[in-house]
């Protein structure tokens, strides 16, 4: 028979190997999300759209700014190589839709990213520190809110010319405001929880408190809001492009394609339909994903 110490060691080794991997709330949420058919389908479709947007131009013999003199307002056809037809200048719509998609998706994702980064930290800091800091930070936010956004964009564009970077800056500047408010509210409710008090008792610093205890607990809501923000940003960019404040020709975005398509819809409907289908599908997908995320991250809400 084994001696007691050897026995003990064997048991300890065994229990160490047995170390169970816990299932975090994120794991649970992922499982619930993948059980949501609408969200999963949307994710797959969105994957295909992204793939098309980035790989599409390579599949076509035309460049996005190349004018095909023999095919202006040409209808979609596989034989000519213009799968989605051409626009009024004879540029291939298949490639242009893909290029425009890049810009639109990028604007959407960037806007959401800026909102998540700045908004979360700003809101969490204001909510957690509280008191006078909170008041000053929130009043600053309100001043930014009251700033007429269109006016701001027009000013930027007239001073610096039409540039896609300016659109990013403009969208980034406004997108985080709502997020900061949402996160601040959530932070206020988490701040009162006992685990925050416990962390105060053993002297966790303010910064560690925000990044380790507050932010991970608001990320659920942030993730949901960010996915719902992406379509908002895409629409926003389209709106700017529609007004002619968006991207610079010959570069394009779904918004400016829609703009051109709308002008020629009576003679060449595909110029409106093609970008519209892509944009609407993308918006639907993002909304369904946002919905799915919300259900997955907050099961009590259903």
């Amino acid at each position: 028979m084994l001696s007691t110490t050897a026995n003990k060691e064997a048991v300890e080794n065994f229990s160490e190997q047995l170390e169970v991997k816990g299932r975090s709330l994120w794991d649970d949420a992922r499982r619930r999300f993948f059980n949501n058919r609408a969200a999963l389908t949307s994710l797959v479709i969105l994957g295909f759209i992204t793939l098309f947007v980035f790989a599409g131009p390579m599949l076509s013999q035309f460049a996005f700014d190349e004018v095909d003199w023999g095919a202006m307002h040409a209808a979609p056809s596989v034989a000519s190589g213009h799968f989605f037809g051409t626009d009024s200048l004879g540029r291939d719509l298949f490639v242009r839709t893909a290029m425009g998609g890049r810009i639109s998706l990028m604007v959407g994702v960037m806007g959401a990213l800026v909102a998540v980064l700045i908004g979360t930290l700003y809101g969490a800091t204001a909510g957690f520190v509280g008191g006078r800091t909170d008041r000053v930070m929130m009043r600053t936010l309100e001043i930014l809110y009251s700033f007429p956004f269109m006016f701001f964009v027009i000013l930027l564009v007239t001073f610096f010319g039409r540039n896609i970077l300016l659109i990013f800056i403009a969208i980034g500047a406004v997108s985080w405001l709502d997020m900061a408010r949402i996160v601040r509210g959530q932070t206020l409710s988490i701040k009162g929880k006992e685990f925050v008090e416990a962390a105060t008792v053993y002297g966790v610093s303010k910064w560690a408190m925000i990044t380790r205890h507050i932010v991970p607990n608001v990320l659920g809501i942030v993730a949901v809001y960010a996915t719902l923000l992406v379509p908002q940003m895409i629409l926003f960019e389209s709106f700017l492009s529609f007004l002619g404040l968006g991207v610079q020709e010959p570069m394009t975005s779904w918004g400016s394609l829609l703009n051109e398509g709308a002008q020629t819809m009576e003679i060449a409907l595909w110029q409106l339909i093609v970008p519209a289908v892509f944009m609407v599908t993308t918006l639907f997908c993002f909304n369904f994903i946002g919905d799915g995320l919300r259900d997955a991250l907050d099961p009590k809400d259903r």
Binding site: S15, E16, L18, E19, V20, K21, G22, R23, S24, L25, W26, K193, E194, F195, E197, A198, A199, T200, V201, Y202, G203, V204, S205, A208, R212, H213, P216, N217
Partner: protein, 335 residues
Amino acid sequence: MTVAEKELLLDVQDLKVHFQIKKENAWPWTKPANLKAVNGVDLQLYAGETLGVVGESGCGKSTLARAIIGLIKATDGNVLWLGQDLTELDDKALRATRSDIQMIFQDPLASLNPRMTIGDIIAEPLRTLRPDIPKQEVSDRVQAMMMKVGLLPNLVNRYPHEFSGGQCQRIGIARALILEPKLIICDEPVSALDVSIQAQVVNLLKQLQREMNLSLIFIAHDLSVVKHISDRVVVMYLGNAVEVGTADALFADPQHPYTQALMSAVPIPDPEVEKGKDIQLLEGELPSPINPPSGCVFRTRCPHADAVCAEQVPALSGSAEHQSACLRLDALQAG
């Protein structure tokens, strides 16, 4: 061992915690109301002993605990920890004493960060206050501590929601103990648990107290639990300590009318005795701490109150083992 021979750890002197309450639609120049949550409490805690704090909801027990540990700023008074006044120290200086005083909370699940694993939760105090300890040693200590509080060490990677209330409270205890503190403040640690688990947790605390030579401040409204665990007991009413004494003396001979009423309300697990028991019901509600009664705060509900009680504020008096704050104590004991 008499009280005088023990080392005095914590000396709370005339501690006051007042909150400024602003009415919702008040004018900016109206003075905020002053809510006196804790209004002049004196406490002494000696090494290795357990001090029970009892009282009904809203009497300031939790506020007292939070003021001692510094979660709430005290309005007035001193909290002397080994002779050093904690209320005077700034955040940086407080860090040094943090590892001496730790706390266990009422809601076991809410006191654990839902996004962190158990191992990370228990290790966090060590990582925060002793960053010099190598990783391997931290994880060894965490595992040892988990064994000590009756958790399997292979559960380190689990998350709080995967545990029961009793287990969560054990995790909370492990987190409080990992710094090897001298004092643990237990803020109603068993109120959220069912009775059989309560017993387990209370006995675990007692056992750990013996092993690690801990002092405990044990807040509860369950008198039987307090009687079981405490060496000395403080009875609080509306922010004031009305009676202090060793558990034996206080439970055998409650002097203050409020303590007597509290004791008589404890159900006795014997239907025959319970039927014949004379429960001393207190009239009315707990008065508002914004506007406490003059003189003795208990006089509005006290069956023995007379005109003097409205004028004079009673002080704690009596022997070292047993003190109570009642103006009519002599008359009551005589009658």
